[in-house]
Amino acid sequence: MFGHDNRELAAVFVGGAIGTVARAALAVFAAPHPEHWPWPTFVVNIVGAFLLGYFTTRLLERLPVSSYQRPLLGTGVCGGLTTFSTMQVETVRMLEHGAYGLAAGYTTASIVAGLAAVYLATVLVRRVRVRA
């Protein structure tokens, strides 16, 4: 399709389906109110950032090149599990409700924790010595 590797697209599709079901299940069963901290989105985003840091570093720097693990686990599962759009719409809803402190805190905490999660996962993978 469109001149792409179909097996790579299939890997992204399967991973995306798995990540999306996990995120949607959490969003449906723990739907937050606009004036409360959106734990479902926050948790999937930080967990997904950690996993992507782990998979990407491990696959690019530690393991032999494999064609389908990165599209399946990184682009698919982590991309499907995490969401930028929901975070932004949630923040706009907070601003509409006049919850400015919550909106600023949510945005800042997501970015700080997200970057820290990627960094931590990267350091953990690099600390493990590659066996010769």
Binding site: L9, V21, F84, Q88
Partner: protein, 121 residues
């Protein structure tokens, strides 16, 4: 919530991820800069679309399939964070900062615009 809806969430989520992969590639191919334009374009367009769906006041199941499943899977927080952290690691601090500030400011503007436009219909 029926099994059919959850099968739909899985299939539509997979389609959202594939759409992100294709849009990211198409945009990145046209830009030779180390700024992650592909993810940036995906996330801004997705923030607008999710806002638009939110403004339409869809039924819960349609909102779950179109918004949570498709747009949620189309956009990505993890890649945004990974690319920003890697820019910082490569000492491209201005690109890293710009990627955060521009994504947040324009992402909120896109979501608010989408909500407003959806509400007009």
């Amino acid at each position: 919530m029926t099994a059919v809806i959850w099968l739909g969430v899985a299939l539509i989520g997979g389609a959202g991820a594939v759409t992100r992969f294709l849009v990211d590639r198409a945009v990145s191919k046209r830009k030779s800069s180390s700024f992650p334009y592909g993810t940036f374009a995906v996330n801004l367009s997705g923030a607008w679309l999710l806002g638009f769906f939110g403004g339409l006041a869809l039924s819960p199941n349609v909102a779950l399939l179109a918004g949570t499943a498709f747009v949620g899977a189309y956009t990505t927080f993890s890649t945004w964070m990974l690319e920003t952290q890697r820019l910082g690691e490569e000492r491209q601090v201005w690109f890293a900062l710009a990627n955060i500030v521009a994504s947040v400011v324009l992402g909120l503007a896109a979501a608010a615009l989408g909500l407003w436009m959806g509400g007009l219909l």
